[in-house]
């Protein structure tokens, strides 16, 4: 199929349709409402269900209910709406059901603003709801990647019977880029879900799908089953991209989503100035590419690791966990809907790699306000 120009929100919505999503529940919120608008038209065309609920709390529980029947279920929202769904996420993970959630992140906390942010990293990767559960979390940095990840997300969710979340900042939702929908994409076979789904117990024993286990041994058993799935994800589902990583790099940036693209531009421009910097871009945020990142950081030439995020510093905690103090980990971030420019990223990099002369020290001081204090 030829490339077409599409807005991120619409492209992701189309990807969900092509991956066989049949049930979409939503409540409108900027900057992702185009997903709902698109699917309001598209879902009936494929015989699916489009339902605008009374709130995101209801959306979460509709996902839970529909997922238990083995249908491919999908929702999209933005930060405050995703928060309202967290109780259901915990129940869905506890009851071992597949579903796909899209979070087009905006600035928080609270109602926050509507501009791009990456400040839901903790919520997405460490569990926004209660209990011992994780959500497989993927962060695209282009519209094409958002399409590819969304199309694959349904089969992955079914493989693990666990929610998969796609996180993008507002730019992923709002910008337009050329996309191609693969014709021969294997989105897996949802009919396999009938092995466990609540499909009506005619002629067979009733199945009970639940997250309630009052016997502590049974509950521990369930948690161990979940834990083993997460350990398997850590082996099989790690995704990342390396950009211009080589033995000449003086510094390595770790950044994800749209922010990583901004870092790419900074890296390209610095290369022209004779400064070599590499970028490690995690695509799966959980499971985090731990071993892969550590291997790059351990390279002799890497003196410093710089984490750049659209937050006050969230993913940086995972990087610190991985680096374990063997190299200094620095952080730069803007938040509230402010997106760091390539120029800002370049300035941060230059401050870190130049031998500190008096002038540089003064420059570093003037930018230290935005640096995280540890």
């Amino acid at each position: 199929m030829a490339k077409i120009l599409m807005k991120g929100n619409e492209a992701i919505a189309e990807a969900a349709i092509r991956a066989g999503a049949t049930n979409y529940f939503c409540y409108p919120i900027t900057p992702q409402t185009e997903v709902a608008e698109y699917l309001a038209r598209r879902m009936p065309e494929v015989g699916g269900v489009f339902l605008q609920a009374e709130s995101e709390v209801a959306v979460g529980n509709m996902l839970f209910g529909a997922a238990s029947t083995g249908r491919r279920v999908f929702t999209s929202s933005s930060s405050p709406g995703i928060s309202l769904m967290q109780e259901a996420m915990s129940y869905i993970a506890g009851a071992q059901l597949p579903c796909v959630i899209l979070n087009i992140m905006r600035g928080g906390p609270g109602l926050g603003g509507i501009l791009p942010a990456q400040s839901d990293y903790f919520q997405a990767t460490k569990g926004g709801g209660h209990g011992d559960y994780r959500i497989l979390c993927l962060a695209p940095s282009s519209i094409q990647e958002a399409v590819d990840l969304t199309m694959g997300a349904f089969a992955t969710a079914e493989k693990y019977r666990n929610p998969v979340m796609i996180v993008g900042d507002g730019m992923i939702g709002q910008m337009m880029e050329p996309v191609e929908f693969p014709d021969d994409f294997d989105a897996g076979d949802p009919s396999k879900n009938e092995e466990w789904a609540a499909t009506g117990a005619k002629g067979r024993k009733a199945r009970i799908i639940k997250s309630l286990f009052l016997d502590p041994l049974k509950l521990e058993e369930n948690s161990i089953v979940l834990h083993e799935k997460y350990e398997k994800m850590k082996v099989d589902e790690v995704r990342y991209e390396r950009y211009k990583i080589n033995s000449k790099n003086e510094l390595m940036i770790v950044s994800y989503g749209t922010m990583a693209r901004i870092c790419q531009t900074a890296i390209d421009e610095l290369e022209a100035e004779g400064i070599s910097v590499g970028l490690f871009r995690p695509i799966s945020l959980f499971p985090y590419p731990e071993k892969e990142l550590r291997k790059e950081v351990d390279a002799k030439n890497i003196k410093t690791v710089l984490v750049i995020e659209m937050s006050c510093g969230q993913m940086v905690e995972d990087v610190e966990r991985v680096v374990q103090g063997v190299k200094p980990v620095k952080f730069f971030g803007r938040t509230g809907g402010i997106v760091p420019s390539p120029e800002e990223a370049k300035e941060q990099i230059k401050n870190l790699i130049k031998k500190p002369t008096r002038a540089k020290k003064a420059a570093a001081k003037s930018t230290s306000k935005r640096k995280r204090k540890d």
Binding site: L115, M171, Q174, M175, P178, R261, I262
Partner: protein
Amino acid sequence: MDQYEVLWAGFGGQGVMVAGQLLAYTGIKEGKNVVWLPSYGPEMRGGTAYCTVVISEQRIGSPIISNPRAAVVFNRPSFDKFSPRIKAGGLLLVNSSLIDVTTDRDDVTEILVPANRMALDAGSPKATNIAMLSAFVGATEVVKYENLLATLEEKLGKKKELLEINRAVMLAGYELGQKAMKGAGKKVKA
């Protein structure tokens, strides 16, 4: 051409977003990488709107462009806000029907396009954005004229009457842009 970034800015309703999209569609037609990024935020009707378009032969990094190679401004607030941000050696296209000032910068080429007047003369004020778009393409040749025309026919071809007006405005704008660049480096008044 390595990478070209252009910012489109004006009032909501002037067709700023559509102009940027038509350019992006045409870029894809030519097999290039493109990014169209709108400004989005809380705005009232008649408020400001802008978008950036990046066209490149290579993979595009940052979709956020602080200093574009060109800015196409449709109204005075956009002129004030964005003309200082253009890269040195860049290009500024001004809708001179609504903007009665010119830039003080001597490191950019300024082209004055009486876009509202051109559109009205052709028969519809709706074609204002096409005048600006085609003048930009005439001045830069970032995409080919015939491809831009094909995009126009595909995307805005439903209303035959309006398409004819757009076609006429497009040719006039393109020629204005071409002619203006022959005097590039100087202030160009059309």
